[in-house]
Symmetry: C3
Subunit: 265 residues, 3 copies
Amino acid sequence: MFEARLLQGGLLKKVLDSIKDIITEGNFDCSPNGLSLQAMDSSHVSLIDILLESEGFEHYRCDRNIPMGLNITNLVKMIKCAGSEDIVTIKCEDKPDNVTFLFESKDNDKISDFEMKTMTIDDEHLLVPDQTYTAVVKMPSAEFQRLCRDMAAIGDTVNISVTKEGVRFSTTGDMGTANITVRPNPSGDQKEEERTEVQITEPVSAGFALRYLNSFTKATPLSPTVTLGMVPNLPIVVEYKIADMGHVRYYLAPKIEDEENAVEA
Amino acid sequence: MFEARLLQGGLLKKVLDSIKDIITEGNFDCSPNGLSLQAMDSSHVSLIDILLESEGFEHYRCDRNIPMGLNITNLVKMIKCAGSEDIVTIKCEDKPDNVTFLFESKDNDKISDFEMKTMTIDDEHLLVPDQTYTAVVKMPSAEFQRLCRDMAAIGDTVNISVTKEGVRFSTTGDMGTANITVRPNPSGDQKEEERTEVQITEPVSAGFALRYLNSFTKATPLSPTVTLGMVPNLPIVVEYKIADMGHVRYYLAPKIEDEENAVEA
Amino acid sequence: MFEARLLQGGLLKKVLDSIKDIITEGNFDCSPNGLSLQAMDSSHVSLIDILLESEGFEHYRCDRNIPMGLNITNLVKMIKCAGSEDIVTIKCEDKPDNVTFLFESKDNDKISDFEMKTMTIDDEHLLVPDQTYTAVVKMPSAEFQRLCRDMAAIGDTVNISVTKEGVRFSTTGDMGTANITVRPNPSGDQKEEERTEVQITEPVSAGFALRYLNSFTKATPLSPTVTLGMVPNLPIVVEYKIADMGHVRYYLAPKIEDEENAVEA
């Protein structure tokens, strides 16, 4: 059987909000190490990788690996019924037909339980890339969200160029061209989470579909910062860390480069 | 003639907001005792009962009973034009073709008057039930509103079961089952309006259409608490008290019970 | 060439917001005196007149008159990408194919530049009336906005009557009649921007299409007060001053008067 108790139920809501626009169903893999999910979006262009480590739960028991196939859309509806301050317990049998979500309010005067039907989802064997990135940018997640939204109003593709001087986001559409350059901040007077930090071994530049980047930024409430990892000709990773528990990561392949998208630095 | 002056014009807005999604026209009955309205929704399933006692008005004069037939939709549009801090005066003749609503701002620098055409509405003789309830639940109105909205995302019907231990709201839909149990709070550390109180002579359980309960919760701004009164096989009453003036009450017949909806306590 | 640097980039956003629902393209006229725009709405009923004087810019250089034809809809999209605290610089050549908008964040860690294509727009020779008004009303812009919105829920045309006693807004629709009278406030206890002031040489009354007045109130964020200027049988001017820089003015011809709209004071 599987049973896990999480003190911040709101966290579960945020995790689901970060994927609900990308996938409609998914296999949550329960293992002794934690709860994880890997899935591709319906057009098989981007990849989601979620990890919630067992240590992050108040109580965690998992006797054997259990795939928990759930309809994400329904799960989101169900979990909306719980308060964001509630304590959540997830329970199921080894080969579950149902998964139970139990929500307890802090002062224990309201208890909600949801019994959700499971579904069988064909497991895709996904190879989540694990590698060293040529360029790593850490920036405020709200700023990255705003950038992606703004760029999407102008063009379909954003070119992201990372150099020591900063990160340049560029897009072109019918109406003209927009460039936004974010510079690494001097580490002095800002809070760590408001700083932009760039670490590169060599400059990198690639173009990405804004539609996907925009959907990734639904994870913004999970973390005050986002980390972008880039390697030439390989997918970008957009990572939101979940404090003391794990992460939500998104992978997206670059658009095939043409001259317009080449490094201009 | 009829003339009534109410210091809190915002109250009139809230009363209209509490019925505007249920009825499109209604007869306001002006009598020496106060202003009242009884009406069924267009599908004749639920019943609204409003009372604003004459004592609650700053000035109240009503020489004889006057039915004031008004288009609620238009009335709501008109009254939106008044500030919620305004003083309102309602005036009409004994057999009115028009009703005048006069709004004065607190500092008297803005005066709005609206002249609305009346309409003839066939009076239904409604028998508003007056009885002793087997179970009475008083709970925060905002929590009841949230519960009804959340349940409606999952199913069409909510089963409400009241026992000494508390109130259980249950619903079932395609995606699964949800139960929310609200326990009576110890009367010590919470404000009266945040407490849930249960008074029963015997446990009661019945199912109700969430669509109607949800529309009733439009009255939430009228009162910090709501009272549910239940008797086996009879309509539930959902009451919002209006301080020093009266109430807005809704009556809704239970769904015909099947096994699923039977008392599970 | 033309180059102008404005410390409050947010001001440019507000100016564009005030016209974007009325015109989709426009010629900004750059001259040594400042940046201006005159345009009629697409139905040629109302007229916009914008002036941003050169003195209001931190830096302003304009060697000769340059018409800068721009697609307003696209410009609004572009400028949304800039922060409202940003410093904006507008640059173009004498016969520009492109106009560059450069936005710098206050702490200089984010730089955005937008290059917009210009378009050729047939210049209409507009005669913006310059005259003495029979009645001038200065009132809080938020209150005027609310009035126009509220009146539009009831009728299509508002009759504005100005007398020494105040301003009366009246409208009639299927559901009835509404009158809102705003009185000039005693100048004592209110902030200047909360006062209503009336200056008249004789009473004036005229009817105006609410659809246009409502679109003018998009300029509300530009100024805490609005000034209405009226002359019998001539267009009303609705003016929003831009502190230390200029104004956004709208002109709208009165509806042909019938008895209903005549002065009732």
